[in-house]
Symmetry: C2
Subunit: 160 residues, 2 copies
DNA sequence: ACTGAAAGGGCTGTGCC
DNA sequence: GGCACAGCCCTTTCAGT
């Protein structure tokens, strides 16, 4: 993982369909060299996949909510996580510190669907209670920020 | 937006680097037809981009937190959102219903960095207070669930 | 709106530095 | 590890339906 790898990763985070030739031009390498590096990054699990990003509203999933999952005294976290993974409307699932065991992001079509989904969540074995925060608008999401940028910002913050 | 478009979208959500020829094979269309459809989906804003997904830990961003942003009485939400967007460690930002104005997802290298970031967040004009939930593990994230699957699950739920 | 053809370019393996 | 080359496949455009 050198500076070239990081540049390639940043480029692929910005445009996941960039060709190897294009990436090569950006970082000053031949297409075959980039091809090899990307293959290694994928093999090492650094790059885990490539995904098209879709406007949820335009595919009929206009309602987003963040739901905190309070665990019951009995019940295994891994089992709860597995049950959460079985619900396709649960898009992300984080195990967290604090009163809640998990925070999940849910996407559905309508508030009626949200109500139904919350019912299903509460009925999971090991779930005592949910705490729902409805998303009014997504200002930005999954920004492809390079670690470099983050590091730079944190350095600047340190210097303050 | 017909069934073919939805199939193509689902395929590109699963593999953002799928070739047009490959997509055509999957949905039973020629590569040129797929090419045209994808172009229209991009133009209509249904597909907003393609991104490589990277394991945050392997690029030195091993600490994730969800931070609720409580607004002060004075201060404009849009200004706060703009200030949040300027911090690269803030990966996502949702305006939410409830006590908090926003919930943001933050990724940094260390808990020291997290402390610094929280300081920067609190210093934003219009931010009264933050409430931080540290992520212990990401069970799954940004799963490419097709709206069909979600609709199916919700239908099943309705029938229960 | 899709197909099929054709030209151009990218992909990806091999051999070599 | 990277480059150059080469064969093949894909992309992209365009006429035809």
């Amino acid at each position: 993982m050198d500076a070239l790898d990081r540049q390639i990763i940043a480029a692929l985070r910005a445009n996941g369909r960039a060709t190897y030739a294009e990436l090569g031009r950006q970082v000053g390498l031949s297409a075959s060299a980039v091809h090899e590096r990307v293959g290694k990054l994928e093999g090492a699990g650094v790059i885990t996949g490539y995904h098209a990003v879709v406007d949820p509203r335009l595919v009929g999933l206009g309602v987003t909510a963040l739901v905190g999952i309070h665990p019951s005294d009995t019940g295994d976290d891994d089992d709860v996580a597995a049950a959460l993974a079985r619900l396709p409307e649960v898009e992300s699932c984080y195990a967290v510190a604090g009163d809640e065991a998990f925070v999940v992001k849910v996407r559905v079509a309508t508030v009626d669907d949200l109500e139904r989904t919350l019912g299903r969540l509460r009925r999971i074995d090991g779930v005592a209670r949910t705490h729902t925060t409805v998303v009014l608008s997504t200002r930005f999401e999954s920004r492809p920020n390079s670690p470099e940028e983050v590091a730079g910002a944190l350095l600047a913050s340190r210097a303050e």
